[in-house]
Symmetry: C2
Subunit: 237 residues, 2 copies
DNA sequence: TAGACCTTGTGAAGAAAAGCACAAAGTCGA
DNA sequence: TCGACTTTGTGCTTTTCTTCACAAGGTCTA
């Protein structure tokens, strides 16, 4: 009996509804969330001169178990060599392609307060296909500022000037975020990164990811309190 | 047979190892991650004058299924009234307590670049027990600046001046982040919010959460590419 | 008081993710 | 060529998370 047949068959049936013409397995969401970390570690290894890497090593650098790393990579295909490990640059290419980073993703940042400026200045954008093409803010005292070489325009003008915008980053106050999101969606933006402290309502075909400082702090506080409680009982019991 | 007995017994055994003296069930991590959103929605409802809310309504505002909301809340205890819903302010109190937001959490921000300044200016900190007590940066051209009413000090000085620091926020470049984390940990900080693009190594008793712009963008790109592929095939098939 | 009507709380089922453990498939030295 | 050794890929198990669906328990009107 050919090995792997059962998994292949079941994955065809269960997971490939969205990729009927692809022979790749669908990549689970949890795996997608880890691919950027692998990619970054691999890039560092590559810059340090490594040509090969074993799952143990890459896993330890990225803070996951080696079995999980191998399973994650197995969703992309069979790129490792048993007894040897993975070819660093091949793996970089595969993950880059899987994540869609070979394409061009024009980004607009809406809201040029502190956070918006910080993001505009953040180097990470420029790499990997992401390209900031517009900075928008409707505050008249900000419109016209030049941030990182780009002029700040009113949102309407930014939209008019950029027909294709792939990703919208919202860094406005929460009370404006929904309205901004609506306008972005209407303009065809289907990916939104939301820094405002509000859950955006968008159509099903639009993907929103939220980054919320306050949520992160609260989760930290929860665990900190849990630690303190455990410690307190230790002393008593 | 009394209802709920099995679950109670199994949850005592499976989940309460960390809370031997508590009669509460352990709150699953996924639930903890949603509590801040519930809390925020409830706060808004409360400010709008609502005294009661049903799971359907709260779920729809926060973007989860009502069954999930009820199950999440059930980990905190039995605070709803059948046929009626939940008391808004009671629920606020319960979630606030569960997340540890009644306590005081002194926060230090390390790295006063754009991001650090944006976070220092971010209002969300001040609420809910989080209190920025120190801003640190070792760049001599920045030390001495006053940001949001707080002076920027060298990290060593900030640590010396603040014996108790509950949460450290790292917004330095990636190549300094590990070293900063080590110093924070050595000083007793057990909760770290890491904005640097690197996986920090810390002892088991320290909790790190990472916020990475570049990761978020890459996940968005993955899904966007997936959408585009599906669309492309639609036209063909 | 009774019966119609809501909405919760939760057992059980289902789905997704994580982790284990080992056969398979390669390298390498002699 | 052969056998020792290394590391992958993955079947299987366990754990965690989500969803369903409905009895239980409450309100409210007449």
């Amino acid at each position: 009996m050919p090995r792997g047949l059962h998994l292949l068959a079941s994955s065809r049936r269960d997971r490939c509804r969205l990729l009927p013409q692809s022979n790749k397995r669908v990549v689970p969401g949890a795996t997608v969330g880890r691919l950027p970390a692998y990619l970054q570690a691999l890039t560092e290894l590559s810059e340090a001169g490594s040509r090969r890497v074993a799952s143990d090593e890459l896993a330890s650098v990225t803070g996951v178990r080696s079995a999980q790393l191998r399973k994650d990579l197995s969703y992309l295909g069979t790129y490792g060599v048993r007894g040897v490990g993975y070819d660093v640059s091949q793996l970089i290419d595969e993950i880059t392609a899987e994540l869609g980073l070979t394409q061009d993703w024009p980004v607009i940042i809406v809201g040029m307060g502190n956070m918006g400026r910080a993001l505009a200045a953040y180097g990470g954008f420029g790499q990997r296909g992401f390209r900031i093409v517009a900075l928008a803010d409707d505050d008249p005292s900000i419109v016209g500022d030049v941030v990182q070489g780009l002029p700040v325009c009113r949102l309407a003008d930014s939209l008019a000037a950029n027909e294709r915008l792939a990703i919208g980053v919202i860094t406005t106050p929460a009370d404006q975020a929904q309205q901004i999101a609506d306008r972005l969606v209407e303009h065809g933006v289907q990916s939104i990164l939301n820094f405002a402290a509000i859950a955006l309502r968008v159509p099903d075909n639009v993907d929103v990811r939220r980054v919320d400082l306050s949520t992160e702090l609260q989760i930290l506080a929860f665990h900190a309190q849990r630690r303190d409680m455990a410690k307190g009982r230790e002393g008593v019991g």
